[in-house]
């Protein structure tokens, strides 16, 4: 089983060209790091530094690649949800939408309640592997409290491996402490990879202060870094898709070197989140077929050249509502992501409007798209039993396979939809001619109604709340 081919856009020689191009840029142009500690780390390891620009040698890159793990285990609070990163097609929550949307209340700024709701949907979902992060940015809480409250809601409503938030050093330490409290004992994080964080470079060729503080703190605590340049070809990167893939690779390798210097062996996921620019507005083109083509090139680098775990951004659309455009753009992106070998995907759960919005209904619909794509990734059974000569000969020229024992034993393994309608026309009409969005609306509300009040025991809950109170007082 599993597909026999992967979607590829580069030859083996091209992989070498991209790597050599990366080394040339790192050596001759360098990368700007807006953080003193990062600069000191580079200096200590012999890198040439001019002001904030660090010039990275081939030796430093080789060293970093030697210590970065190819796969690793991510521990969940409930161990049955622990995952191996670097295989399969793991799904994580969205990162970044400001708005929440459903058909009853339309599009509005998201609240902490919406944030908690999405966590509940992620916990209940059989296709979502990781939780936390920022699937919607809550607008109704103070920015100084936001990270504490989001982490609390993620821990309260889920028990899968949790993703934190890019922030300043103190805020990052607090979120890591909270994860450690929920997992039981002090020092647990140093021995186990329990939490991850998504960081973006400041394209072109730079890293912002908060990003670096986050990377350094996560690395020191031995936690997972999902490093994803988010470049727009023609805006913040070259207009050529290959050039943007080169820039993306260069920024990632620079970040990888820093992380491995801070703490060798820190798990880092080679994540790709670039797109082409939408040149009528100089913005990010979410629905473009070219977006995934850039990332396909980068995934080849991550997988085949560097042997790192890889993630991509797939399942994105520019549509403002859950319509036909939303459907085909989402599927185009998601399918290309899986076929390009991504082992993890982000922005795959209900995003609309170029990741500005998360839709409750589309979350439920996208779960089905993920099930479809995962089914495709499994390919077909090619065993002797599956070739079915005996069955074909037994049935011969008349009769039906419908009542054959082999069908009876296996038919439930055929893929069936969870929200799409495959019934006949009159049944559909008699049931009110419902659009898939209406069904998805009903479904998400049911899931929320059935979600447990809390997944924290009262002692941990109390400890976390006290921690938040203390942190707020400071």
């Amino acid at each position: 089983m599993a597909l026999k081919s992967r979607l590829e856009v580069l030859t083996k020689d091209d992989l070498v060209r991209v790597h050599e191009a990366t080394l040339k840029i790192l050596r001759e142009t360098g990368v700007v790091f807006h953080n003193d500690e990062a600069i000191e780390v580079f200096k200590k390891h012999g890198a040439r530094v001019e002001n904030k620009t660090v010039f990275i040698t081939r030796e430093l890159v080789d060293q970093a690649l030697a210590t970065a793990p190819r796969t690793f285990r991510m521990r969940a609070r409930n161990d049955k949800y622990s995952v191996t990163v670097g295989e399969g097609f793991l799904i994580q929550p969205n990162v970044g939408p400001v708005y929440i949307q459903d058909i009853q209340k339309g599009r509005r700024e998201a609240t902490l309640e919406d944030y908690a709701n999405i966590q509940k949907l992620c916990q209940a979902s059989d296709v979502v592997d990781l939780v936390g992060t920022i699937p919607v940015d809550p607008s109704d809480v103070k920015s100084s409290d936001k990270y504490l409250l989001m982490m609390y809601e993620a821990l309260k409503n889920t028990e899968k491996p949790v993703i934190g938030f890019c922030a300043n050093t103190q805020q990052v330490r607090q979120q890591l402490d909270m994860v450690e409290m929920a997992l039981g004992k002090p020092g647990f994080l140093l021995e186990n990879h329990c939490t991850a964080v998504l960081v973006n470079s400041l394209s072109p060729l730079a890293y912002a202060p908060d990003t670096l503080e986050t990377m350094i703190e996560y690395a020191k605590r031995n936690q997972v870094i999902l490093l994803a340049p988010c470049i727009m070809a023609g805006v913040s990167g070259p207009i050529s898709l290959l050039g943007t893939a080169v820039l993306q690779n260069t920024e990632t390798i620079a970040g990888l070197v820093l992380v491995q210097l801070v703490n060798p062996g820190t798990p880092l996921v080679y994540a790709t989140a670039s797109t082409s620019g939408y040149m009528k507005e100089a913005t990010f083109a979410a629905g473009s077929p070219e977006a995934m083509l850039i990332n396909t090139a980068s995934l080849q680098m991550g997988l085949d050249y560097y042997h790192l775990p890889v993630r991509t951004m797939s399942g994105i659309t520019h549509s403002k509502t859950v319509d036909c455009q939303a459907g085909y753009e989402t599927m185009q992106s998601l399918l290309m992501g899986m076929m390009s070998g991504a082992q993890m995907s982000v922005q795959s759960l209900g995003v609309l409007d170029a990741i500005m919005t998360t839709s409750y209904e589309k979350f439920v619909i996208d779960e089905e798209l993920i099930r479809r794509v995962r089914r495709i990734s499994q390919g077909i059974d090619t065993s002797d039993e599956a070739i079915a000569v005996d069955v074909i000969q037994e049935i011969g020229h008349t009769g039906t396979y419908l009542s054959h024992i082999s069908t009876f034993e296996k038919f439930r393994s055929l893929w069936t939809p969870t929200v799409s309608d495959w019934g006949n026309y009159s049944d559909w009409k008699n049931a009110g001619s419902e659009d898939v969005v209406i069904k998805a609306n009903r479904k998400y509300q049911q899931i929320l109604q059935n979600a447990p009040e809390t997944l924290l025991d009262s002692e941990t809950d109390k400890a976390l709340l006290e921690f938040i109170e203390k942190a707020r007082a400071h």
């Binding site: 807006h34 400001v98 940015d137 730079a206 913040s236 040149m279 009528k280 913005t283 500005m356």
Partner: protein, 210 residues
Amino acid sequence: MSDFDQLADYVFKGNAAAVKELTQKLVNAGGDPLEIISKGLLIGMDIVTPKFKAGEMYVPEVMMAARALSEGMNIVKPLLTGEDIAVSKTIIIGTVAGDLHDIGKNLVVMIMESGGFNVVDLGVDVSPEKFVAAIKEHNAKIVGLSALLTTTMLNMKVTIDHIAKEGLRDQVKILVGGAPVSQSFADEVGADGYCADAMAAKEMATAFLN
């Protein structure tokens, strides 16, 4: 085609070298600087604006046109006397504290300059104090705040509050923009206007000055 029409056409096509050469030729021949601007250079940009709005011209083309325009302006501007500049069209602009993103902000700067504004660009990661100091120094009537991150957009409110605290709120109109910014966010932080894109920023700034 008259020289002015030719100049406008060069601006429209984003041919900076040709704009520079023809502007210099017109200046050398004793042409009126104000006429060169109003009948030539700005006419070129006037062709661009509606075409951009209609989706016929893309951002890189608009930026080339704006760059060509500024080549011409650089030659003519020093020749203008104080009386020629009727109203002070000064705008202070910057990305708010904590945010280092500037692609969108730089786009607004170019479009504003192409609209004849004197743009004081404070750059990125600009503190509220720096905005206030610049408003005082340049006696500006318009301030533009930019942010890309949901974490930093809240510094727009901090900046606006600081401008108010310094007693300058009534003197300036404050425009906000950036990917996560919305009309409701602009209302909430007490801005005077939300600009969805660079053209909207230019139009709003122009409307406020009139």
